[in-house]
Symmetry: C2
């Protein structure tokens, strides 16, 4: 019998691990709750009508056409049973010899139910489509609204979270609204009625960036008419209003929550290993779960300490981890010694808009058009599929030149939140 490896999650880490292990003499089951691999870093471009879903999501099975030893299973994992070596799904229990947890993260509302109910998350494709539908719908409703208070509230868009997701979403919203939408809603007064607000709990945006790039970010956002509120902590949220800790009230129907992530909840719920506050499985230097050498965890759902701090929840951590963990599984099978994981920082970057980005890599710092150009190239190279590479490059160029947004389609019957 060949060893059976189960991989939970078809994100950056899961796909890479499966690709590497597929070449070995093993059987693999790859489980994911979606039938596609999502290029998360560009999710904000779907939510702001720039890219289509086909451009950032790629059918998972298409990666493994030639790998008959890989089975894909569309399922929500409910629980882990590390004692009996089983992954429990609604359809069946999947036995494993080796397990890779690369299941990623979900939005973290830090236990505040009112935010889970009344804000829009930014982690899944469905959430991005919801934001797109909702924002477009707010403009349609605002144009026929006669009460100026309600109209202003409908056109106030708040992003909570001053990390890359929040910054990118706020910048992209500004471009969507002030370039594409402004030309087409002849009856709305954009200067008077539209507000885009970015709420950051800390003293600066993009805290992982060097100070001058943080300032550049502030400057560009200001130019894009995004109002940045620093040291501002979201305290309460209803359908019509966001309240800050200092009592400030912001009337709005749109709060986009980009304030944090936590590991997928089934790991902590399974009570099978030690997890940190964000529900991430704490792993050894070799990426294993202590006392369960056959179980590995990588990426957003793993807590790996390096230089006294857990690694950040970014794609390269997951990709680099997947290489070491697949090598270690092969080492285990062949009774060879395991390798310790060392993360090599590839820097951080954030795009604030079309033609504008900031990036830092060690001592190298860049901003403006060329930072954006590199950002674009890096992302393009990592997108799955040659066809997509071409169309996305075309779309970005087209957009830079024409300022249009082809994705402004309301596809869903507005959800209940819109029936306020």
């Amino acid at each position: 019998m060949r060893p059976h490896i189960v991989i939970v999650g078809a994100g950056f880490g899961g796909i890479k691990a499966a690709q590497r292990l597929a070449k070995e003499d093993v059987d693999i089951t790859l489980i994911d709750r979606n039938n596609f691999h999502l290029f998360q870093p560009l999710l904000y471009q779907v939510s702001t009508s720039m890219l289509s879903i086909e451009e950032i999501a790629y059918p998972t099975r298409a990666f493994f056409r030639k790998n008959k030893n890989i089975d894909f299973m569309l399922a929500h994992v409910q629980k882990l049973d590390l004692v009996n070596k089983e992954v429990i799904t609604p359809y069946k229990k999947v036995k494993y010899d080796y397990l890779i947890l690369s299941a990623g993260s979900v939005t973290n509302y830090f236990g505040m139910e009112q935010f889970a109910l009344n804000t829009y998350g930014m982690k899944t494709l469905r959430e991005a489509i919801h934001i797109r539908n909702h924002v477009l719908h707010m403009f349609e409703r605002a144009e026929r609204e006669t009460d100026p208070e309600i109209r202003k509230r409908m056109l106030t868009f708040v992003c909570v979270g001053g990390g890359p997701t929040g910054v990118e979403e706020a910048g992209a919203l500004s471009e969507l609204i002030y370039t594409a939408m402004k030309k087409e809603y002849h009856r709305l007064d954009f200067e008077k009625d539209v507000s885009i607000i970015l709420i950051q709990a800390e003293a600066s945006l993009l805290p992982m960036m060097p100070p001058d790039l943080r300032e550049e970010t502030m400057r560009v956002l200001k130019k894009k008419r995004v109002k940045v509120m620093l040291n501002a902590i979201a305290a309460d949220c209803t359908r019509d209003k966001l309240t800050l800790k200092d009592g400030t009230e912001i009337p709005t129907n749109t709060v986009i929550w980009a304030a944090g992530v936590q590991a997928v909840p089934f790991i902590a719920k399974s009570n099978c290993c030690e997890v940190d506050r964000a529900g991430r499985a704490i792993v050894t230097k070799t990426l294993q779960i202590p006392n369960h050498p056959e179980v590995f965890a990588i990426g957003d759902c793993a807590h790996f300490e390096q230089d006294g701090r857990p690694l950040p929840t970014v794609a390269p951590v997951s990709t680099q981890g997947s290489i070491v963990c697949s090598e270690n599984i092969i080492a285990l099978i062949n009774n060879r010694p395991l390798k310790e994981f060392v993360y090599h920082d590839v820097g951080s970057m954030a795009t604030i808009g079309c033609g504008q980005a900031v990036m830092a890599w060690g001592k190298l710092k860049m901003k403006g058009f060329w930072a954006w150009y590199i950002w674009m190239t890096v992302h393009l190279l990592r997108l799955a599929g040659t066809h997509t590479n071409i169309t996305v490059a075309m779309k970005w160029t087209w957009n830079l030149l024409s300022g249009t947004r082809l994705g402004r389609l309301i596809t869903n019957i507005p959800d209940t939140r819109d029936d306020r």
Copy 2:
């Protein structure tokens, strides 16, 4: 006061009429239940994962960026009040001086509730996305299904209706399944388990085509492993089964209903004018509603007789009608005599798959690759937006060469029909 023209429906006719009238000294309100113009003839390519929604839907407001005299209104029209000259929507009553009804058609279930409940329509973007999600999901479920009967039922796809929509859908499904899907579901036996069936009530497919092209269509479909059943009338439908009038039972979870259309129901419901059996407003030679010279109806929601027969529900009828009706409105405003509408047949075409189509125009007949090539060019030229023209052309070429389908994304939580 400038005359106020209300146009209901932003399809082929509505958009064209609005574009023509926008140049005149009038105010226009364009009302549609969607915020986009849909290129209906390619809807089947969205339902079969070929094109993305952005490629066949174009934001309606984007057509009228420079026309300040056009207001767009996103609303479901509920009723017409021709006496008080009002169009009634949930938000407000819209007064008009002149009215163009270009509201199109919806699926016709001919009063059979069980088909409305248990089949998939093919008229709206949402319906196309539903079909896409459902078909992909059936394959995921079938692969893990152990009961061979149930598996076979999940992989039996039935299209009802032997007109262009049914033929195109069946052909495209075959390509999706036997080119893209077959490579990726390693555990399924496609020869044994998959069936694609096309049900036609009449004695031949595409009755408007000359006999040799009908036979060509049969031949190509057979090659694509589509089982065509002629003189077969759908009589009953449950969640698991389609029953024909002769008693034949086809176990299936997927019945796609392409058997007919009727005018949008609000016209007949308004009891304001004479309608035919399909709910279409019967119009005069000048496209007016009798006794209401200020009200015009065109396209799928109008019944216009020529050569003793009502015109077919195809795009050119609507486009040609929109030109005459906008000219007639200007004539009315200026007290000039009206023009009678004469439809010029532009022939009919249907594509049976990538590289294969049939077309007839008067005595000219074509089939095979060059018919497909012309079909492709005609459709491309009529798609809104240069960017879209390029990406769609690329996608079709890419698909012809590689046989891939990038749109195979399950985006919705499967609807209740999938929880059988």
